[in-house]
Amino acid sequence: MQEKLFGKTLEELTTLTENLGLPSYSARQISEWLYKKEVSSIDEMTNLSKKARAQLSASFDLGTSLPVDVTESVDGTKKYLFRAQNEKYIETAYIPEEKRNTVCVSSQVGCKMGCLFCMTGKQGFQGNLTAGEIINQYRSISEWKALTNIVYMGMGEPLDNLTEVLKSLQILTAQWGFALSPRRITVSTIGITPAMLQFLDQSEAHLAVSLHTPFDEERRKLMPVQQVYPLKEVLKEIRSWDFGRQRRVSFEYILFKGFNDSPAHVNELARILQGIRCRINLIRFHPIPDTPLESPNEAAIKRFRDKLIAKGITTTIRASRGQDIWAACGLLSTKKMTQKE
């Protein structure tokens, strides 16, 4: 299989063109074709000489790939399936809203974090996506020019694939790349502390942390990561990090009926988040097969939100989208994988 150009940084393209004996300016020309223009083959890079294009084509493939399937919800949400390695699939969600259009990208094939409430974990872990495979999910959907926001909240734990995720962020935000504002990008993590610190240091994108309960013992039952990277340590590092005026940290909180939705949870959240300028994003739980967890009703979700707001915490409820097309992460690709097996 040929190496892919899409997903290479300017530095990598410079090395590559030097090795091929191409002029020094050709790396920047290639990056413009890859990340600023629309081409479907190396041969369309017309400001490169014919010889250069032939040399490139001999060793490289353009590297973009179209989705193999798309399902559209009645609310306009789309779920794209892209083929990944080993005949597995990754999911990408396109979520149109009144004032913004978001793409939710995957960072791994499957996941090894094993969170109790997550469907992706049931696939096991098949591998990391490359930076090219990550940004291809942004570039290769038909709505890409209308996208305003990118969230790394699809399949996989982004900070378990830190090198490729950082590289993808570099390509998305660099002037020679897609030149997107990092303030339009959010990376979500369950809280792998050392990788989170590296991400904060080497990127300007927003951070979202999956919190789900403020109590250590409860979090251990939901999220095995709590055994080695406890929430209190994650919060301690966030509290001491200078996020500046523009960069945002938010906490994701899936509500589970009778488990993490009590007044005691509100009080403890207010206590542990004291001093952190943040927002809590409440998420409705969409039950997965065989789960012991349930979602509270709408009234209970709103009551929980109002209590947090009364404690001075900015709190929103994430709109549920694409429920008719299995849009929650991991559902569709697991279904597809099961069909194949």
Binding site: K112, K122, G124, P194, K221
Partner: protein, 221 residues
């Protein structure tokens, strides 16, 4: 690399290293810290090099801290660890982690080198009222068989998927659990292994009536 305060690395000298079976290694270094059985260490080959977490595989009071691992060919660290020799320097973090047990009865479930935290617990005096279900592909991979059986007796259950032996359940840990007529929902169930095994096992336990809050998992990240 940016590292939080308790992720800083300190050097240790490797005292011994041994290949226990094909691709499975144990190495040790002199212990100069306290830890709780079940905790992990971050290990790196250089002070600023990539690190990975490994469960400690020795008792709380032993003179040496031991680490059990299997070589992942495509991995970064384990192929290099397998080249270690006595006298080499490694870098470790402080011990950390909350995958710890107590003296209450419980069920331990492990596959492969996921046995390490349970061996640490056994060697720290926590084995007397436990059941251990351990899965491996080959019989030679049950490295601590004698020591577990001496304490747990019939409550040490080996599941071997690749070889037959009359003293061993033939199949995977998940197969064994599926065939169990009932599981005690009042016990704690500790799971350690790869993500797939942990997720599958957890689903089976829940289907068999074990409340999810009784299940504590540690996954190799």
């Amino acid at each position: 690399m940016v590292a939080g305060h308790n992720h800083k690395l300190s050097p240790v000298i490797v005292d011994f290293t041994e290949e226990l079976s094909d691709g499975i290694y144990l190495f040790g270094f002199r212990r100069n810290f306290d830890f709780i059985a079940g905790q992990v260490l971050g290990i790196a080959l250089e002070e600023n090099g990539p690190r990975r977490l490994y469960s400690i595989c020795s008792g709380e009071d032993e003179a040496h801290t031991k680490i059990l691992y299997n070589v992942i060919d495509e991995g970064y660290l384990t192929p290099r660890l397998s080249d270690l020799e006595a006298g080499d320097t490694l870098w470790i973090t402080e011990p950390r982690g909350e995958f710890t047990d107590n003296l209450n009865p419980a069920v331990w479930i492990a596959t492969g080198t996921g046995i390490a935290p349970f061996y640490a617990m056994l060697k720290s005096g926590l084995g007397s009222n436990k059941t251990l279900i351990h899965g491996n592909r080959f019989l030679e991979q049950f490295h601590f068989y004698d020591e577990f059986e001496a304490v747990l007796g019939e409550n040490y259950i080996r599941c071997c998927s690749g070889e037959h032996d009359e003293r061993v359940y033939h199949g995977r840990v998940t197969g064994f659990l599926e065939e169990e007529p009932e599981l005690d929902p009042s016990l704690k169930y500790y799971l350690c292994g790869n993500a797939e095994m942990v997720v599958e096992t957890r689903d089976i336990l829940i289907q068999k009536g074990v409340p999810f809050h009784q299940i504590i998992s540690e996954i190799y990240f």
